[in-house]
Amino acid sequence: MRIELEKRPQASVLYAVLSPFIALVLTVIAGGIMFWLLGKDPVSALYSFFVEPLLDVWSLHEIAIKAAPLILIGVGLSICYRSNNWNIGAEGQFIMGAIAGSIVPVVFHEWHSPLVLPLMLIFGMVGGALYAAIPAFLKANLNTNEILSSLMLVYVAQFFLDWIVRGPWRSPEGYNFPVTRNFTPEAILPEILDSGRTNLGFVFAIVAALLIWFMMRYTLKGFEITVLGQSERAGRFAGFSSRRMIWFSMLLSGALAGLAGISEVSGNINKLQPIISPGYGFTAIIVAFLGRLNPLGIIAAGLFLALTYVGGEAVQLTLTVSDKVTRVFQGLLLFFVLSCDTLILYKIRLVFPGRTAAVGQGAVQGAVQGGAE
């Protein structure tokens, strides 16, 4: 018996909906086996991983905090990826947004006004957008590969942050440690509920996702993004400019990453320090694809990935397993999601030896046709 993949005549709507759930079930089964092999009770492990964090108001807040930057960056990236602009440098735009936004509370720390916070947020978005403008300019004018240029600019941003907190912005009250002064209360994003730490950053994330969902679905711009992403030539015939799309998508995703950066620094860290992100800009790439580049899907994916982080800690603590388990889980999940997506475009067919000839030929033909499309 052989297993063959046969291309479907058109993408399956049923599996497009089902595949993430199949992936989730497979992840849970594989994860359970992993816990069992580690000598831990798989049921209680999975319980503290996926359920326990949802039962506590405190940890719900923590999930929201963790999800906010992932969603905010992820929806921005979805515009890039849908229009065929591969911005991999959201991490750098996140950092530059955080630095630009911090100009107000660090350099003008004696200025107290309700305008401080709005200005910080605007500066943050401008900072992120300007940083994304570099790969956008290079691609639009010199046809440079934006994957490489945006990725390499991440390291530049990281070192720039490192330098600025050790050098010009180092806190005079910090024993020479590499941190800026703490932000004053008016420079800190307010918490939205009394029950926990969730701040306005989460609201930004949800609003941004809804706006972009609306844009993609109901506006000409959304149509333009889709058309240019699927076929640049067709887009050109329709009068859309792919050069302007480079600028639009890169600046938009840069601004959102910058907003995520300044929100994280203002709401959670309250100062700049050499490391302000555990890799949100990169994890957001996973989130964007897990959410199928659909803003509503990205909200769900962001929340789910945040759950795996928070749940991973809970498991570490209750069962004393290594922190690597969390990473393995996230890896398993991504692997299963990607492989289950095969079902949207392909059918699985079991081929039995007796009947191979005819069926096999059909499958090959199907594959060839699929390839030629």
């Binding site: 405190w58 923590e62 905090i65 963790k66 490192d162 330098w163 050790r166 050098g167 024993y175 020479n176 440690f177 590499p178 994280e264 959670n268 860290i269 309250n270 100062k271 320090q273 050499p274 490391i275 302000i276 992100s277 555990p278 982080y309 928070v310 800690e313 809970a314 570490q316 603590l317 004393t320 290594s322 922190d323 690597k324």
Partner: protein, 356 residues
């Protein structure tokens, strides 16, 4: 079916009750690690301390821990989780956990916290640190004796006072033996990254150093030194296994004694917030056996160690000049602890520009 469900529910309830009852009897002493507990260096030294603590008190305490917690907003969540899970005392074992520890401590005034290597404290937050520079001074002396070329390589992590102080102590120790001794520094900008640390070690050796020392957490530099046939010093844990013929000695952090002492105080109800900075004489810092060196060098190292222990010798005793040639300490002068803890300049003899 109903019966089965009922049985399951009852047994679950009984189990749950039993679990909570046994948990209540034990005091929870919790640990937050920045790296992996098997890093062979900094975090492993803390984990060995934790195991010593567990062995000392046996069934009376539990010692849960979270490892590889990134310094930043994640740290606050991890520490808060500890506080919420019923920990009575939480040790946060990296400098970058400082503000997060203070923030969480404000929310949980009944939980006690101890933060390693920081400078902020509160009524329920103590700090503890070790005078690593004492060991580095000894290492400097050994390096000066053992090096043919008179140049050592130093793999540093972040240019914070703690690390700068270590470099200066090493240089000053070396110059007490060979006044022309030089040190080259590479900043790895990480505490824990075997790849980067190994690259830094290779780069230093290519630049002509013949002794290697490190202020990063893994055994990678030791392994590179072993491959290239030069001598090296271990950091935080005894790294002799990574270089049986390479390691001269290592600064070994023996946190266990401190953890046991503080836990005892907690159980007795005498725990107070303090800012502790102990050294060789208090047993929080020990030197791994002096190996792979001639007897006279070993003798010198042991003498110096004894002098530091007895208080006869302070590693930073003047005259010492800063790198720019200006005077830092006059003849016989010793620095105050506050000055050491905020050190942001090199002394003369360091072949590097301090990242500012």
């Amino acid at each position: 079916m109903k019966k089965l469900l009922l049985a399951l529910a009852t047994s679950a309830a009984v189990l749950g009750f039993a679990a909570s009852a046994s948990a209540q009897d034990k005091t929870k002493i919790c640990f937050i690690y920045v790296g992996s507990k098997t890093d062979g260096g900094w975090t492993q030294a803390h984990d060995i301390g934790r195991q010593a603590l567990q062995a000392e008190f046996g069934d009376k305490i539990e010692t849960p821990f979270l490892e590889s917690v990134p310094e930043g907003p994640d740290a606050e969540r991890a520490i808060e989780r500890m506080a919420r899970s019923g920990c009575a005392l939480v040790f946060t074992t990296s400098f970058g956990f400082m503000d997060a520890t203070i923030k969480v401590a404000e929310k949980f005034p009944d939980v006690k916290f101890e933060h390693a290597t920081g400078f902020k404290s509160a009524p329920n937050v103590a700090t503890y640190n070790s005078r690593f520079y004492e060991g580095r001074y000894i290492q400097g002396q050994i390096a000066a004796k053992m090096s043919q070329k008179g140049v050592a390589g130093y793999i540093a992590s972040f240019p914070i006072p703690e690390v700068v102080m270590g470099i200066n102590a090493f240089v000053h120790g070396a110059q007490s033996v060979n006044p022309d001794f030089k040190v080259k520094v590479i900043w790895a900008n990480t505490w824990f990254d075997p790849g980067k640390e190994a690259d830094a070690a290779k780069a230093l050796i290519d630049q002509g150093v013949d002794i290697l020392t490190q202020h990063t957490d893994t055994t990678a530099p030791m392994q590179v030194a072993a491959e290239r046939g030069i001598k090296a010093f271990g950091q935080a844990s005894d790294m002799i296994k990574a270089g049986p013929e390479t390691q001269l000695t290592a600064i070994v952090d023996t946190w266990g004694a401190y953890y046991i002492k503080r836990t005892k105080e907690l159980l007795d109800g005498t725990w107070k917030s303090e800012q502790v900075w102990d050294g060789l004489k208090d047993g929080i810092l020990t030197m791994a056996p002096y190996t792979n060196m001639p007897d006279d060098v070993k003798k010198m190292a042991e003498d110096t160690e004894a002098k530091i222990r007895s208080g006869e010798l302070h590693p930073f005793t003047g005259p010492i000049k800063k790198q720019d040639g200006s005077e830092w300490l006059k003849d016989g002068e010793k620095p105050e602890d506050g000055v050491l803890l905020g050190m942001n300049f090199y002394i003369a003899g360091v072949d590097d520009k301090l990242p500012q």
